[in-house]
């Protein structure tokens, strides 16, 4: 959808679809995973048709997500290479959180925070997939001590990734004009200039 011919294209339809597939799988995994994580969350299993269904579905959704996560990783990995400016941006993230981003270093398509988020999710995802397979009793039976190790890693990486994604989602809500990038792929020029000035220049030549 084109709201304003001057808007800048930030994501292709394929990129958006890929992101939503990963996002939806993640939500299903987080809800079913948390259900086993602590009794306080056990009622979440009802969303999946009961405890046994949640147990059956979770690992399959995990494998599904892993596949689309790899595709998304391949799409975005180059754009997320860390630069010196990113590190400077990160070292001054306090100003950003404080709501005053006027003096922050100029950012390209992604800022240091987004890139850090990207790499942290990659690490969590790798840990979750490997440990998830180790604790998948219905399919595999590795040595017990390895399963125990897998259970610890899976729980830690799962909780870490849920925290990361909550921050990711909140950042998108907080920075007005961002969420539309994932709905219809475009952002306003003013949004780009304010938040990603180097990218704005690259796209507009101004």
């Amino acid at each position: 959808m084109i709201r304003d011919p001057k808007d800048l294209q930030r994501y292709t339809p394929q990129e958006r679809a890929n992101h939503w597939v990963v996002g939806i799988s993640f939500i299903l995994l987080a809800l079913s995973g948390l259900a086993f994580f602590h009794p306080a969350f056990y009622p979440l299993t009802y969303l999946f048709g009961g405890g046994t269904w949640a147990r059956i579905l979770h690992p399959y959704i995990g494998v599904f997500m892993a596949f689309f996560f790899v595709l998304m990783f391949l799409r975005f990995r180059k754009l997320n290479a860390m630069t010196k400016t990113d590190k400077e941006w990160l070292s001054r993230i306090g100003e950003m959180v404080d709501g005053d981003d006027h003096n922050m270093p100029e950012q390209g398509k992604y800022n240091g925070g987004q890139k850090a988020m990207f790499w942290a999710s990659v690490v969590c995802m790798v840990l979750l997939v490997v440990s998830g397979v180790l604790i998948w009793r219905a399919q595999f039976s590795p040595p017990l001590e390895l399963v125990r190790f897998g259970a610890v890693v899976h729980a830690v990486a799962g909780a870490a990734m849920i925290a990361l994604i909550m921050i990711h989602v909140y950042a998108a809500i907080w920075v007005k004009g961002t969420i539309r990038a994932m709905w219809y792929g475009t952002v306003t020029r003013a949004w780009a200039k304010q938040h990603h000035r180097a990218w704005y220049r690259e796209m507009t030549g101004k």
């Binding site: 056990y42 604790i135 009793r137 259970a151 729980a155 909550m166 909140y170 306003t188």
Partner: protein, 295 residues
């Protein structure tokens, strides 16, 4: 399997007290390995009372039959041939759930009420609440629970909780022809064991002793061993079993703390929004961009 409901000491994945008005004495099954002849009457009695028939398997060239515990074989005689002081010793141990005082299976189970521990010490699986995740297998220091291939539920010895609830001894204890399996209050079983151990010591087994490992809070299945100093001789009975530190880490305080941290991230975000306000494109930038566009 569930029958009793008024004397529950612990219930898996439950953070409030379980029904516990009725107090019952701690029970124990004493297995006197030195008196066992390996006839497997207990295995047959277990199948019969619980009315479960395992598939007929194959012979692996040893007496162990079936060769391992299964979802349908809750107790198995394990035969070990050991040479001691130049003499062959045939050590036959009846394997099965130890009914731990501090059960790793119960600690690991994520399904509320799928595993309970009664005040009498019996650890029982309630298969109707089981979701088949296999965490109990991960948690058990004795490698006991088995997940059924047919219904994906976890099964193991119930210590005949249904018989014990109505004042009967477990089926295996009833069937044993040599009296190697005794059942009663844990105190009485310890006294009985002390006599047997005294006997064995007189007969030259100076390391005879009781297996009631403290690392799992004591057990409600006790062994009298001729070589209590080396339980590993008895087909790898662990010398000092305990819940793995990895399992304690996985199921310990870290989880409630992590859950609180996740809640804090969610609430923190909300309050950040409320207190700092949204990060909007400034009017200034909007004007700049408009000017650039009209040039």
């Amino acid at each position: 399997m569930a029958l009793q409901s008024l004397d529950i000491k612990q219930r898996s994945a439950t953070t409030t007290p379980a029904p516990s008005v009725r107090k019952t004495a701690e029970v124990a099954k004493l297995i006197d390995v030195s008196a066992c002849i390996g006839c497997k009457a207990c295995q047959a009695a277990c199948m019969e009372w619980n009315d479960i028939r395992d598939e007929v398997g194959i012979n692996y060239g040893v007496y162990d039959n079936p060769v391992d515990l299964t979802a349908k074989s809750w107790t198995v005689m394990r035969f070990a041939e050991v040479e001691e002081k130049g003499r062959l010793e045939w050590l036959i141990r009846k394997d099965g759930c130890m009914h731990c005082g501090d059960p790793g299976c119960l600690k690991a189970c994520p399904a509320p009420g799928a595993i309970v521990q009664y005040a009498n010490g019996i650890v029982d699986f309630h298969e109707e609440n089981c979701i088949g995740c296999g965490y109990c297998v991960t948690g058990c220091p004795f490698n006991i629970p088995r997940i059924s291939k047919e219904d994906s539920k976890a099964y193991k010895c119930t210590l005949c909780s249904d018989r014990v609830a109505v004042g009967q001894a477990p089926a295996c204890a009833k069937a044993c022809p040599t009296g190697a399996i005794q059942f009663g209050s844990k105190e009485d079983m310890k006294d009985y064991a002390a006599k047997r151990i005294g006997d064995l010591k007189e007969r030259g087994f100076d390391k005879a002793g009781l297996y009631d490992p403290a690392g799992v809070g004591g057990t409600h299945v006790l062994y009298v061993l001729h070589h209590a100093d080396r339980p590993q001789l008895y087909n790898g009975l662990p010398a000092d079993p305990g819940i793995s530190p990895l399992v304690s880490l996985w199921k310990g305080m870290a989880k409630p703390l992590a859950s609180l941290a996740l809640g804090a991230v969610a609430l923190g975000s909300l309050f950040h929004y409320v207190m700092k306000g949204p990060n909007e494109v400034s009017k200034e930038t909007e004007k700049e961009v408009e000017k650039e566009g009209s040039q």
